[in-house]
C-alpha cells in the first residue's frame, strides 16, 4: 500500500506541492521552537534563562502543531475532492474506506518526509535568528549561546510527521467513505456530523472567550494576562473558522435579502454559485477567519501592551517575539489559503470552458470569481475582527482600566488588508490563468 501511495503521489505533483508546503513551513516553525527548547535544556545555558527558554518554545510550539494539523486536515480534504474519480475507481474495484485512508496517510507521510531536511535546515536558521534577537535584547545571559543539539529538533520534525499523518487520516475520512456510485450521504449521518462540528466550534469559542474573560480577575502586571489572551484569540479564531459553513449561509441569506438589486452577469452568477455550491468558498472563509482573527487579536493586544507597559528591554523583546510569531502564523495561514484557493479554482476549469463556449469573456468569468471571493472575504474579516475584539476587550480593561484601547482600528485594518489582498490577489491571478487555459 505504501509503494502504491508513492507511485500515486508522483502523479499528483500539484497536490503533493500543496501538502509539502504546509509540512515544510510547519516543520520550520516547530524546529525553530525545538531549537530554542534544546538551547534551554543545554548544559551551557545559564540557570536563570532555563525557565523562559523552555516554557516559551513549548507553548508556542504547541500552538504551531495545532495549526499545522488544522491546515493539513483542510489541505488533504480539498486536494482529495479533486481526486474523487480516482478514489471512486479504487473503491469500485474493492478498496475499503480504511485502505483509501491508509493510502492517503502514507502519501502525506511520504510528502512530509520529503520536506523534513529542508524544514530542519530552515528551522535551525529561524531558531538561531530568534535566539540572536533574544540575546541582543539582553533577555538572556550572554553566556547562554544557541545550542539546539540534534535530538530535540529532530523530535520536532518527527512530531510534525506524526501530526501530518494523523491530519491526513482525519481529513480523508469523508472522501474515503463516500460511495463510489455517488449515493447521497444519508441525511441523518450528515446531520450528526454537522452537529459534531458545531459542538466542537462551541467548545473552542467558550474556551477562547472564557480564557480571555478570566483575565479580568488578574492584576495588570501579571504575565498571565498575555499568556491567557494570546491563546484565547487563537482558540476563538479556530472556533469561528470551524463555523465556515454557517458563515457562508449568512452571506447567502443576506444576498437573498436584496434580490431586486440590478446585477451584471458576473454578480448574478456569483450569487447563484454561492448559494448552489457554498462548499467552494468554505476553505477561503476558514483560513481567512483564522488569519485575520489571530493576527488582529495578537497585534491589538501587543499594541495595548506597548502603550501601557514599562518600555524596558524585556517588554521590547517580548513584543518583537510576538510580532515575529504573528508574521509566521500569518505566513502559514496565507500559504494554506493560497493552496486551497488555487486548488478550488483549478477544479472549475470545465465550468470556465462552458462559460467561454457560450460567449463569456475572461473578464466576466474572473469578475464572477472575484465577487465570490469578495463576499467570502467580507464575512470572514467581519466575524474574525469581532472575535478578536471580544478577546482583547478584557485585556484592555485590565491593562488600562477601560475597553477603549481595544478599539484602536490600526491592527484590525492591517490584518484585514493583508488577508483581503492575499485572497483577492490569488483569486485574480489563479483565476485569470485557469480561465485562459480552460
Amino acid at each position: 500500500m505504501i509503494a502504491l501511495a508513492c507511485r500515486l503521489f508522483r502523479h499528483h505533483r500539484a497536490t503533493a506541492l500543496a501538502t509539502g508546503l504546509v509540512a515544510l513551513v510547519g516543520m520550520a516553525l516547530v524546529v525553530a521552537m525545538a531549537a530554542l527548547l534544546g538551547t534551554g535544556l543545554a548544559d551551557g545555558t545559564a540557570r536563570a534563562d532555563r525557565p523562559f527558554l523552555t516554557q516559551f518554545p513549548l507553548i508556542m510550539g504547541g500552538w504551531v502543531v495545532a495549526i499545522v494539523v488544522f491546515a493539513m486536515v483542510s489541505t488533504v480534504g480539498v486536494t482529495l475532492s479533486g481526486r474523487a474519480a480516482e478514489i471512486g475507481g479504487l473503491r469500485l474495484i474493492g478498496a475499503t474506506p480504511r485502505q483509501v485512508r491508509v493510502l492517503v496517510s502514507a502519501e502525506t507521510l511520504a510528502v512530509s518526509a520529503a520536506a523534513a531536511l529542508p524544514g530542519l535546515g530552515a528551522g535551525y536558521l529561524l531558531g538561531w535568528i530568534l535566539m540572536a534577537s533574544i540575546r541582543s535584547a539582553g533577555l538572556t545571559d550572554p553566556a547562554s549561546s544557541f545550542a539546539p543539539g540534534l535530538g530535540v529538533p529532530v523530535a520536532g520534525v518527527a512530531l510534525v510527521l506524526v501530526a501530518s499523518t494523523v491530519a491526513a487520516w482525519i481529513g480523508s475520512r469523508k472522501p474515503a467513505e463516500r460511495s463510489p456510485v455517488e449515493d447521497p450521504v444519508p441525511a441523518t449521518s450528515k446531520q450528526r456530523r454537522e452537529k459534531g462540528r458545531r459542538v466542537v466550534a462551541a467548545v473552542l469559542l467558550i474556551a477562547g472567550v472564557g480564557s480571555a474573560s478570566a483575565v479580568l480577575g488578574l492584576s495588570a502586571d501579571n504575565i498571565a494576562t498575555t499568556a491567557m489572551t494570546g491563546p484565547a484569540t487563537v482558540l476563538t479564531a479556530i472556533g469561528l473558522a470551524v463555523l465556515a459553513p454557517e458563515l457562508v449561509n449568512v452571506v447567502n441569506r443576506i444576498l437573498r435579502g436584496f434580490p431586486a438589486l440590478p446585477r451584471g452577469a458576473a454578480a448574478h452568477l456569483a450569487a447563484i454559485n454561492l448559494s448552489a455550491a457554498p462548499e467552494r468558498v468554505r476553505p477561503v472563509v476558514t483560513f481567512l477567519t483564522l488569519l485575520v482573527g489571530v493576527s488582529a487579536g495578537t497585534l491589538s493586544m501587543q499594541g495595548i501592551e506597548n502603550q501601557h507597559a514599562s518600555a524596558d528591554s524585556t517588554a521590547q523583546v517580548l513584543a518583537s517575539i510576538n510580532y515575529l510569531v504573528v508574521v509566521l502564523i500569518a505566513l502559514f495561514t496565507a500559504i494554506a489559503l493560497t493552496n486551497n484557493l488555487v486548488a478550488a479554482i483549478g477544479r472549475r476549469r470545465e465550468e470556465f470552458a462552458v462559460l467561454s463556449l457560450i460567449g463569456s469573456t475572461t473578464r466576466q468569468a474572473r469578475g464572477m470569481l472575484l465577487r465570490e471571493t469578495t463576499a467570502a472575504t467580507i464575512v470572514s474579516v467581519a466575524v474574525a475582527g469581532i472575535g478578536a475584539l471580544v478577546c482583547v476587550i478584557p485585556f484592555a480593561i485590565v491593562k488600562t482600566g477601560s475597553p477603549a484601547a481595544a478599539f484602536d482600528a490600526g491592527p484590525y485594518l492591517l490584518s484585514i488588508a493583508i488577508g483581503a489582498a492575499i485572497a483577492l490577489g490569488v483569486t485574480s491571478v489563479a483565476g485569470s490563468r485557469t480561465i485562459r487555459n480552460a
Binding site: L4, R7, L8, H11, A85, G89, L92, I93, G94, P97
Partner: protein
C-alpha cells in the same frame, strides 16, 4: 442447475428526487445462471444502472434482496462488501477507471494488492495475452488506445477469477472497431464459462449476449433470447414509443 450466480427478489430502490421520491426499481425478480451473458437494456432512466449497482452491492436497495452466489448482500457491512467486490466481482465501466500512474500490468494486479495478495507475474502475463495485449504490460494508460484501455479493465476484472463480471456501458466511449474487439472478448469469456451482466443502450452490443432483459420504469417488461441486433433495436423502438405514450398520457392527466 445449482444456485444462480445472481438472484434478486422483489428488488426495490427509491431515491429522494428534487420533485419528490423517485422509484428507480419497482420489484425486480431476476435469476442469472452461471456462465450466462445477460444484457440489460432500456430507455434512459429505466433503472438499468441502479439494478447493476444493487446486484453488485454498490447500492443498498430500499427493500427486497439481491444475492450473489447465495449470499444476501444487504446483510453485509461496507468492509465485507468491499472485500466481496475485490474477490468475487469484476467491474468494467465506460470510463475505464484505470489509475494513470500505474502500468497496464500494475493496474490489472491492483485488486490483488488491495486484497494483500501477491500477484503471480505469469498469471498477469497470461491475462494480458488473453485480452490481446501480450506486449503492452509495461505501458501506462495514456499510451494505450480507448479499446486497449478497456481490455486492460477487462483483464483487471478477471484477475481474481470472479463469480460475475459486471459491465456498465463498456463500449460507450469506444469507436465501432474497438467496441467490437471488447464485445468479442466478452463473448469469448462467456463461452469459457464466465458469468457476465452488461448494461448497454447499443443493440449491437446486446446482440453479443445470450439473453437481453428490457427494463422500463423500474420493471423488467420484456426478454429476448439469442438476440440479433435488428430484433433488439425493434423491441427497443417499441419500448421507447410506449414509454413516450405513457409519459404524454401522464402529462394530459
Amino acid at each position: 442447475m445449482g444456485i444462480p450466480a445472481v438472484r434478486t427478489r422483489d428488488l426495490r430502490c427509491r431515491f429522494a428526487g428534487e420533485a419528490g421520491p423517485v422509484d428507480a426499481l419497482r420489484g425486480i425478480d431476476l435469476d442469472v445462471a452461471r456462465g450466462s451473458f445477460v444484457a440489460i437494456m432500456g430507455p434512459s432512466g429505466s433503472g438499468k444502472t441502479t439494478l447493476l449497482h444493487c446486484a453488485a452491492g454498490l447500492r443498498t436497495p430500499t427493500s427486497g434482496t439481491a444475492e450473489l452466489d447465495g449470499v444476501n448482500l444487504s446483510q453485509l457491512g461496507e468492509a465485507r462488501l468491499a472485500e466481496l467486490r475485490r474477490r468475487r466481482i469484476g467491474f468494467v465501466f465506460q470510463s475505464f477507471n484505470l489509475l494513470p500512474a500505474l502500468t497496464a500490468a500494475e493496474n490489472i494486479e491492483l485488486p490483488l494488492r488491495l486484497d494483500s495478495r501477491r500477484a503471480d507475474p505469469r498469471h498477469t502475463a497470461a491475462l494480458l495475452a488473453r485480452v490481446g495485449l501480450g506486449n503492452r504490460g509495461q505501458h501506462r494508460p495514456d499510451q494505450l488506445s480507448g479499446g486497449q484501455k478497456q481490455r486492460v479493465a477487462v483483464a483487471r476484472a478477471l484477475i481474481t477469477g470472479p463469480d460475475v463480471v459486471f459491465a456498465d456501458e463498456p463500449t460507450g466511449a469506444l469507436d465501432i472497431r474497438s467496441a467490437r474487439e471488447v464485445l468479442s472478448l466478452l463473448r469469448q469469456l462467456a463461452d469459457q464459462g464466465q458469468t457476465i451482466i452488461m448494461v448497454t443502450h447499443d443493440p449491437v452490443a446486446a446482440s453479443f449476449s445470450d439473453e437481453v432483459l428490457f427494463l422500463a420504469d423500474g420493471l423488467i417488461v420484456d426478454r429476448l433470447a439469442q438476440p440479433s441486433a435488428r430484433a433488439v433495436a425493434s423491441r427497443m423502438a417499441t419500448l421507447v414509443e410506449s414509454a413516450e405514450r405513457a409519459a404524454n398520457a401522464a402529462g394530459v392527466r
